[in-house]
């Protein structure tokens, strides 16, 4: 009973072990075959699972030209699972058919056959004796790498031709720098980093084969060649220092100019009599007292008129004297010393009348010298005494004229005084107006007395008229007395010799020229009424259109405008021709 149980157990055990571990070997596989020098070669295989039993592997090969199967001659030289074919067993340009067989107790396994030709599986050994040296080329270092082909490869006879490749990198870098060297056994590497540590490796390849493994790494340290660069830097530094010193010296020499250029001096205060030093050193009282200028502001106003603008300067007196002396027959009597009468021309534009002045003068000379009339030259004496007016030759001097008419006349002459200095009018104005008032009254009285004024007309001839003959080139008036005649109605003035001018006032709608009687002004233009012979001096010629007498107003003479008359330059109309038309 026990035996049966033991037998059963044994059977079960054996059956179990068989099923689990024992099996024919798996198929092995040839991994690679390589020849290092085209003379020998080695094949390696990878065994499969051995099936639990000790398995042996065998390599069998067959050459292409024969059917003989040979087994691998050497299983050990090349290591485990390898087969080494030595020179005698190696034929080139011959196909080898290689198979690996795995054998164990339970069976065999054949690998797939592999056809190889030795010349196509050449993979040389790495180059040997790689040496790296640092050499110098004109002071710049470079690496010289030299090596030798693997000792087994026969390159001398040309049996195998190798081409080489090397790679370089700095110790701290990652990427290699590759260089193909061709068939040469020496290579130069330039552009090195000063003081760097380099790694160099070399490998080779047959002309139609596989690359070898990289050779062992060679280390090399490049020496520092900074000293050569340093000398350059020293030179540059010295040169720049030298230049800098020169520039500084130049700046120092021209520092004043530079200072003026960059920081121009601030102009000091320029106050007259002001002491800058006082400002710096003195006290405030002293400063302010220094500011006070003794003669400022000016106290007197004596020269205030100096600052006034004067509009008119008429120097007539002296020139007039000279001119009149030349034509002494006419003008002597007219020349008188200047009388200082005040200016009270209140705008009466009679000062422009040449006839006014000259008629008066002439009358004084040629006519009956009934009175001690004088053609006086009124010189308007301004406060400065420089302003002169027309020679108001017909200005009756206050001393001789006793009649009210004379006083009236005086008023007329007053108009000749310039009134262009309004401020000057202020003092004499009351006097002027008074005279004017007198004139008004008298004229009106004259007007009323007109009728019986005939016999008095001779008395009225005492008015002095001077006619301006001409104005010479020296701007002097050449006077001639008015010819007193009664060519007209009694008391009327004769037609004077020479030319007589009237100012044109305007032209009315009927093309009639309106003449302005030269008189006291616009509002007072006491034109002479021929009949009344009320010559108050402004107009020596009276040509009236209207028969009415308007002693208090201007009588305008209207004449038809003739072209030639209108073209007179200064607006004056020659009334000589005009008056022929009218009874004067």
């Amino acid at each position: 009973m026990r035996k049966v149980i033991l037998l059963l157990l044994l059977l079960c055990f054996t059956a179990h072990t068989r099923g689990k571990l024992h099996s024919p070997p798996a198929k092995p596989g040839l991994t690679s075959c390589r020849s290092p020098e085209k003379e020998t070669f080695t094949c390696w295989w990878k065994p499969g699972s051995d099936g639990g039993l000790p398995t042996t592997h065998a390599l069998y090969y067959r050459k292409e030209s024969s059917e003989t199967v040979y087994e691998c001659p050497d299983y050990h030289t090349a290591g485990e699972n390898s087969c080494f074919f030595n020179k005698n067993d190696t034929s080139i340009w011959v196909n080898y058919n290689i198979t690996v067989v795995a054998t164990n107790a339970l069976g065999r396994a054949f690998s797939d056959p592999v056809e190889i030709d030795v010349v196509y599986i050449v993979k040389p050994n790495p180059p040997e004796k790689v040496t790296v040296t640092v050499m110098e080329d004109k002071g710049w270092p470079f690496l010289r790498v030299s090596w030798e082909p693997p000792h087994k490869a026969d390159t001398r006879s040309g049996w195998i031709t190798l081409i080489y490749e090397l790679r370089v990198k700095l110790e701290e870098e990652i990427d290699w720098e590759m260089h193909l060297a061709g068939q040469q056994k020496m290579f130069n590497i330039f552009s090195l980093r000063s003081g760097g540590k380099y790694l160099v490796e070399v490998r080779c390849k047959p002309d139609h084969g596989f690359w070898s493994e990289w050779s062992s790494t060679s280390y090399i340290k490049v020496p520092d060649y900074f000293h050569r660069e340093k000398s350059t830097w020293i030179l540059i530094t010295v040169f720049s220092t030298f230049t800098f010193l020169i520039l500084m010296w130049l700046l120092h020499m021209n520092r004043h100019n530079l200072k003026h250029c960059i920081l121009p001096p601030v102009p000091g205060p320029k106050i007259k009599g002001f002491d800058k030093q006082l400002l710096k050193n003195g006290k405030s009282n002293q400063i302010f007292s220094a500011l006070v200028v003794p003669d400022f502001p000016p106290a007197t106003s004596s020269n205030y008129e100096d600052f006034q603008v004067e509009y008119l300067e008429v120097y007539v007196r002296r020139e007039q004297e000279l001119v009149l002396e030349e034509s002494k027959d006419l003008h002597n009597s007219c020349l008188k010393s200047e009388s200082s009468t005040s200016d009270c021309d209140s705008g009466r534009g009679s000062c422009d009348s040449h006839t006014l002045l000259m008629a008066k003068c002439r009358e004084a000379k040629e006519g009956e010298r009934q009175t001690d009339r004088e053609c006086s030259i009124v010189s308007l004496e301004m406060s400065s005494g420089r302003v002169k007016t027309w020679p108001s030759v017909f200005s009756p001097l206050p001393r001789y004229s006793s009649s009210p008419l004379d006083q009236q006349r005086q008023s007329y002459w007053d108009l000749c005084l310039s009134s262009k200095q309004p401020h000057l009018l202020n003092p004499p104005t009351p006097v002027c107006r008074e005279l004017q008032a007198h004139s008004d009254v008298n004229i009106s009285s004259i007007g009323h007395k007109r009728a019986p004024a005939g016999p008095r007309s001779p008395a009225l001839h005492t008015t002095e008229y001077v006619e301006v003959q001409r104005v010479d080139n020296k701007d002097t008036l050449l006077l001639q007395p008015v010819v007193q005649g009664c060519g007209r109605m009694g008391g009327c003035f004769q037609m004077p010799h020479g030319e007589v001018y009237s100012k044109v006032k305007g032209v009315d709608s009927d093309n009639v020229l309106l003449l302005q009687r030269e008189g006291m002004g616009e509002d007072r233009c006491p034109c002479v009424e021929q009949e009344t012979n009320e010559v108050t001096g402004s107009c020596h010629k009276s040509c009236t259109v209207s028969t009415t007498q308007k002693p208090s107003g201007c009588i305008y003479t209207a004449v038809p405008v003739r072209d030639e008359m209108a073209t007179m330059a200064n607006g004056y109309v020659d009334t000589a021709t005009m008056c022929t038309l009218h009874t004067c």
Partner: protein, 213 residues
Amino acid sequence: MAHCGGTNGSKLFTMVLYMAAACGAIPISDLLDRASQRSDKLHSLSTTLTQDLDSHFPPIGRVIMPRPSMCHTSSLQTPNDKEQALQVSESDLLSLVRSLLQAWEDPLVVLSTSANTLPHPAQSIISNKIQELQEHSKSLGDGLVVLSGKMAPGAQTISSLPYFGGNDIGQDRISKLINFNFLLSCFRRDSHKIDSFLKILRCRAAKMLPEMC
């Protein structure tokens, strides 16, 4: 073959070399250098062609591919290892080279024509490279003629290796591909032989320039 006049031939070759150098003509080393460069290019082209073809080669083709021993140039006796190769004289080596090159003149035409109709995805690339192969082969052949003239009379010997494959490489797609592949593999081996021999010759001629080898 390996021992036939090897030492005497090398001496003669060296003498010829010095004479050529003395005359001032293009030295043989330069000629050989150019020739070996040409042959190197030739072999590289054939290698890339093989890789292009193998990219889409049907796996079954590997099994039934004819053996390389059936190449039409297999009858030519060439050294099988280094010792043998180094013992061959220069003129013999050149003769071998020329013979091999000559043997591939016609098959390359066959390859070229069949490449036009090759049922392969990379057909146009293959066709172009076949064209290049023909050009390089032609120029190398012409150079070798010049080179052989500078060498011993033995270099003029060219073994005839006719190609009997005909113009047709197969009817169906598989056979076409297989035959094309086979032919190309034969050429690849022979071009490698040519390149190796010329490089041996180059190293021998460059004795004055040891850095060449």
